[in-house]
């Protein structure tokens, strides 16, 4: 079956947009074709700096004919209904059939639509798909035309079964031609089928597939590094980016001048990555950064790359001179002396300066340290110095090095090593894949930093919304949760109710992966007295295990039954029953035994919870199952005697209260 080849050739597409654009092009074309009844064998989209390409294999030459039966109005319906139906189907009265149905005679229309030739369909849908392609940012370029593309579009190559598909978009008519590499090829290239196209492009120094370009770069850097006895420091983000900056990637190795090798590796690496998009290399034995870098050019230079390497080395020297200048200048002033300067930096209009923030964090870190058994003075010291590196030149230039630089400067100032580590690690975890700090001083500083942000922003009314979280408060809450749980740190959060709810939501997300049910987290959280996350999770886990057991399932059913009855009767009586049961009024064996079981369980659960022995608490609940079941089997709650009835309702209220010691069972689903 025939194939489609489509190439949209433009000026340089931003690297960060290429993969998404290829995916969108594929998605929109699949949608447009399936909407028109097409099935095909395969589809693949490609993106490079100057082109988006789509290849579809096995696309039928003709759309399928469609035969549709449409049910119309009844034969005795008003004329207007029939007119409407005729208009809709494009048929005349004579062409309609009449069908007998149980409700009477109904008009039926048989509509046949001939499938169109595929090239006509393609000529119609490709411009529509192009107009819909959602570029993150796009531009106008044709005078008087509102049409947008990511950068000016120069040509469109479109063939079906080797023949031109004629259409135009933004004043560009489709054709059979494209161009190769900007500098390594000349003139137009004609292509009618994908294989031929891909082959000719390769000959014209264009590697169409991003994965292939990434592989060429990866292998190229690896091999070139190996020649120097080095290995590359992996950097997937950079690899993806540079794959989008070259149609014919060529790796060259350059040298970093020795005078820069005393500068911390993080500075060199960040400067090379962000400004120059170079890969850093290291010695595989020591892990130390090497004085070489790998650059990816889009060019096979006539001189073997001498000028390119020399040029890049020169640019890097200027870059690193700047960085080294900052590094040298920064160390002339201690972190301590920089704390004052934080008075001049606004943290947030409603929350004052960074200095005020640091004062809050310092106090909180001290409190936390005291409770988790960390060195209080060291935790306070770390918190005091935590933000001081924001005033340094290096962090001004490379904000992503905040913390990392703080540690270097703290060590230079001869601060305690655990303080220096905490200055670096108080930002952690930065993302879901980042490790949490394990050292207690760091834990105190990291918790203080995040909890201060959360309480301050919440108090200022700057809560995250469904669409936006500009201050990364979700990440902060998740960080607190991970630090506490992964280190099993016992710490009562003591939060306002809206923030506690926020934490409960984050906790559900965090524990979802572990298969912990969100309704159980709600059930424990809504007791309102639990703000030690380690204990809370232990309780939820025990509860989940209990509910999986037969006893648990039955007890939950019994609970639901009890609560349903209570709700109904409480509404009737207009009052809430509490667990004040009069023993005298108990007459039947089943209610007596439930009363006895509840009294025993209630006391035992209190003890077990006090000892945080959640397994024991669950066991106590399990012991209630039989008495609860027999109560419902043998006892009529709504007794004729008013006092007896109320006493039995109080007994159910007692069951409710007993179970609510462990969790709010009304929140539990199923």
């Amino acid at each position: 079956m025939p194939d489609l080849l489509l190439e949209l050739f433009s000026e340089e597409i931003p690297a960060r947009m290429q993969a998404g654009a290829a995916r969108d092009l594929e998605r929109l074309m699949v949608g447009a074709l399936t909407d028109r009844g097409y099935l095909f064998e395969g589809i693949k989209a490609f993106a490079s700096p100057r082109r988006l390409t789509l290849a579809i294999a096995g696309l039928p030459a003709k759309q399928n004919d469609v035969r549709e039966e449409l049910k119309g109005p009844k034969t005795d319906a008003p004329q207007a209904a029939l007119d409407g139906f005729l208009k809709k189907t494009g048929l005349t009265r004579d062409q309609l059939k009449i069908e007998k149905t149980p409700k009477g005679d109904v008009y039926m229309a048989v509509v046949e639509r001939k499938g169109r030739e595929t090239p006509h369909v393609l000529a119609e849908i490709i411009p529509e798909v192009m107009a819909k392609l959602p570029w993150p940012k796009s531009m106008r370029w044709k005078p008087g035309l509102a049409v947008r593309w990511v950068r000016p579009l120069h040509s469109i190559l479109a063939t079906f079964d080797g023949e031109l598909v004629p259409f135009s978009f933004a004043g560009v008519s489709s054709g059979l031609h494209t161009r190769g590499h900007r500098f390594l090829s000349e003139g137009k290239i004609e292509a009618k089928r994908f294989d031929d196209y891909a082959q000719k492009l390769k000959a014209a120094h264009v590697v169409l597939e991003a994965e292939e370009r990434a592989a060429i770069i990866f292998d190229g850097v690896k091999q070139a590094a190996f020649v120097h006895g080095l290995e590359m420091i992996p950097d997937e983000g950079l690899l993806a980016e540079v794959s989008g900056l070259a149609e014919w990637p060529v790796v060259y190795i350059g040298t970093i001048q020795n005078e820069f090798m005393d500068v911390p590796a993080e500075i060199l690496q960040t400067s090379m990555r962000t400004h120059q998009k170079y890969f850093s290399l290291r010695d595989p034995k020591t892990g130390k950064m090497a004085n070489r870098f790998a650059l990816v050019a889009n060019m096979i230079a006539k001189d073997g790359g001498k000028e390119i390497v020399a040029g890049n080395e020169r640019v890097l020297r200027a870059r690193l001179s700047d960085a080294k200048f900052f590094w040298d200048e920064d160390r002339k002033h201690s972190l301590e002396s920089r704390v004052e300067k934080l008075k001049g930096i606004v943290f947030h209009a409603k929350l004052g300066t960074q200095f005020e923030r640091v004062q809050r964090i310092e106090k909180l870190a001290g409190e936390i340290a005291g409770k988790i058994g960390a060195d209080v003075e060291k935790a306070k010291r770390a918190a005091r110095l935590a933000k001081a590196d924001l005033t340094t030149g290096v962090v001004g230039e490379f904000p992503e090095l905040q913390g990392v630089m703080g540690r270097y400067y703290a060590l230079h100032d001869k601060e305690d090593a655990s303080v220096a580590d905490a200055v670096r690690d108080h930002y952690k975890p930065v993302g879901p894949s980042d490790a949490v700090p394990a050292n207690k001083v760091s834990i105190a500083a990291a918790l203080a930093d995040k909890l201060d942000a959360l309480t301050s922003f919440f108090a200022a009314g700057e809560k995250p919304t469904g669409s936006g979280d500009p201050f990364a408060l979700r990440r902060a809450a998740l960080g607190v949760i991970r630090i506490l749980l992964e280190n099993k740190v016992r710490y009562a959060l003591k939060l306002e109710s809206d923030l506690l709810t926020f934490f409960a939501d984050r906790l559900k997300v965090a524990l979802k992966e572990k298969g912990i049910r969100h309704d159980l987290i709600d059930a424990v959280f809504s007791l309102g007295n639990e703000d030690d996350l380690v204990r809370l999770v232990a309780r939820v886990e025990a509860l989940q295990a209990f509910l999986k057991s037969e006893d648990g399932t039955n007890l939950l059913a019994g609970y639901k039954r009890a609560v349903n009855i209570l709700k109904l009767e409480e509404k009737k009586d207009g009052k809430t029953f509490i667990s004040e049961v009069s023993e005298k009024l108990l007459s039947e064996a089943a209610e007596k035994s439930l009363f006895a079981a509840l009294s025993k369980a209630r006391a035992a659960i209190t003890v077990a919870l006090g000892k945080e022995d959640f397994a024991a608490a669950m066991q106590q609940m399990a012991s209630l199952r039989v008495p609860v079941d027999s109560f419902f089997e043998g006892v009529k709650v709504n007794a004729d005697d008013k006092q007896v009835r109320e006493n039995r309702l109080s007994l159910l209220a007692s069951l409710r209260a007993t179970l609510h010691q462990v969790a709010d069972f009304s929140k539990i689903e199923g």
Binding site: E11, E12, P14, A15, R16, P49, K137, S138, M139, R140, W141, P143, G144, A146, V150, R151, P152, H154, F183, L245, A246, Q276, K277, Y278, L295, A297, N298, M299, A301, K302, D303, E307, I308, A310, G311, N312, R314, V315, L316, R317, A318, S321, V346, A349
Partner: protein, 298 residues
Amino acid sequence: MAKARTFQDLILTLQNYWAAQGCLILQPYDDQMGAGTFHPATTLRALGPRPWNAAFVQPSRRPSDGRYGENPNRLQHYYQYQVILKPAPENVQELYLGSIRAIGLDPDLHDIRFVEDDWESPTLGAAGLGWEVWCDGMEITQFTYFQQVGGIECDPVCAEITYGLERLAMYVQDVEFVYDLKFNDQFRYGEVFHQNEQEFSAYNFERADTEILFRHFQDAEKQCRELLTGKKLPLPAYDQCIKASHAFNLLDARGVISVTERAAYIGRVRALAQACCEAWLQTPMGEYKPRFADKDAG
């Protein structure tokens, strides 16, 4: 393809090259401004339907970038070479590469790349899409397709090409310290400008009288507004906008404008720029006919 040996050779080569492409070769604007984009030949002429092709050197002042003549490449006064082409020709990238060849950078020996960089000027209410052009990892040019100036959509869209002349010259001459550049065969750049950098850095950071500057800002703002009421004079009004912008830059360098005030000042200059642009479009040279303002707003 001999390399432009001196700073002035570089300028002359660009002048000749763009003159040959049919550009008007204009002279620098006689007001202090932060970038060539402020030249009315760019800001105002980018608007409206009339074709416009011009190239010029524009001395640019960024008071905060002063380093007392001690930084290898940072200057508070430097030169931009600006080309403005309206409408943007189909082959504008090729035209640009021709200029790179003309100054002696052979694309067969170098690695020339167009790397995403969308330019925007909050003070002018201007924005566009484009790239920074890299030569062997060095940013040598800013290349922008204007989409909006003074808050008004550009139609036709023009291409703006801005070369940072000192940086480009340092690359071509293989010099690491800007003051070592050969201005011509007789003079170094430092002999021409080093003392300027020292004196103006001291002025920008220490001596500029902030009270006077605040007054200048207000006066310029007031005069600009006055020139845009009654019989409108957008060109003199725009001069006042440029003056206000420079006064703001100096105040900023003196460190007397707080972070929150900063945004407000930028907003005030932008409001002036927008008003000037709108008034310009009512003049014979501006002759604006909104064509797709409704379809394409936002």
